[in-house]
Symmetry: C2
Amino acid sequence: MKKTDMPQYFQSILIAVDTAIFSVIDGALRVLLIRIGSGPYKGKWALPGGLVRPEESLDQAAERVLSEKAGVDDIYLEQLYAFGGVDRDVRGRSVSVAYFALVNSDRCLPATIEYYSDIAWYDTAKLPKLAFDHTKIVSVGIDRLRNKLGYSNIAYGLLPKEFTLTELQTAYEIILGHELDKRNFRKKILDIDLVKETGKIRKSGQSRPARLYSFSERKPKIVDVL
Amino acid sequence: MKKTDMPQYFQSILIAVDTAIFSVIDGALRVLLIRIGSGPYKGKWALPGGLVRPEESLDQAAERVLSEKAGVDDIYLEQLYAFGGVDRDVRGRSVSVAYFALVNSDRCLPATIEYYSDIAWYDTAKLPKLAFDHTKIVSVGIDRLRNKLGYSNIAYGLLPKEFTLTELQTAYEIILGHELDKRNFRKKILDIDLVKETGKIRKSGQSRPARLYSFSERKPKIVDVL
């Protein structure tokens, strides 16, 4: 098959991946950012990202970029959205396929900084102006995260294997940015079979013993509402 | 800003858009397909698609492609997923950003066939082998559609402005591919405030008069379960 069947002269759009990794740390929803060390965006904070190589799929590129640029491995990344605004990069036209994940910060300590001048877990409520359209990507990521709390088990990546419903509710509240009614929350979470009882009880100090729960499924699942 | 800041030599990946337009016609969930008229995929059925032009965003490209290649305009397209498998196109490496929509077939009658040898609404249960990775794209589209029925108002594009709950349930059942319990369906649909009563009643022939409903919102909305 001739390569010339494809009108390559027609395009000069680059394809990149960016990764938005969220966690709840110190009572805040945070996102992992790196600080760009050179080029037109020098000094700006951005999501870990990079160009897709000819031999790798989008998923593989996202995993490689996150590993190389932020020292983060073994995270289940979910595709978030493709961003293709014509002005998103001052260096030229590009499309970025963004990936996101919600993780327990214990699993995700930035180990190496090879490409960038700094790396940090930024509070999403206090973000600096990010490079490229990354402010938009983070915003779309937070929206998706909040929506998915209601119709999927996405929080399983954040919580330990066993947890109390109070701990689950606290994580939900931090991500949603508002309080939830305790009784209503418990009813809905149990109605959609998101979690199940482990049969174990946790006793701690003064407080009442609390039942421990685990996620019904610890791989990505859309809740069956119908 | 020098264009050479971006390592263009590094990539020769083309970026395309493909559109998966679904409707319910004659009791079946159908997708709009075109038949390719030339090249290595000649004779194969595929989703309407094409390369993104340098001056247009991804959304604009999807709208243009659907209009040019299938004669379909004025549809709200939602981004589905970016497909970037290394072997997805025998002509060379490409990434496709797929869009999808669920429409009322009245709004969507293929008018012109300029680029392709044929166009048809195919029953998704009886698809031929499609060109590229389009079988996969349709499959991901159907999964998303089915999931979104449970947590969004996506069906508003399919139903007329006023409808009975029986009509809504029938549409849901056709898309989901299985029957739903009537009482349970009604309870859940009303619980999540998906639809509201119009106060009107439809009387038709022998059957019992039925209450007419409309969607609470006729633009895309994720249902707030929490």
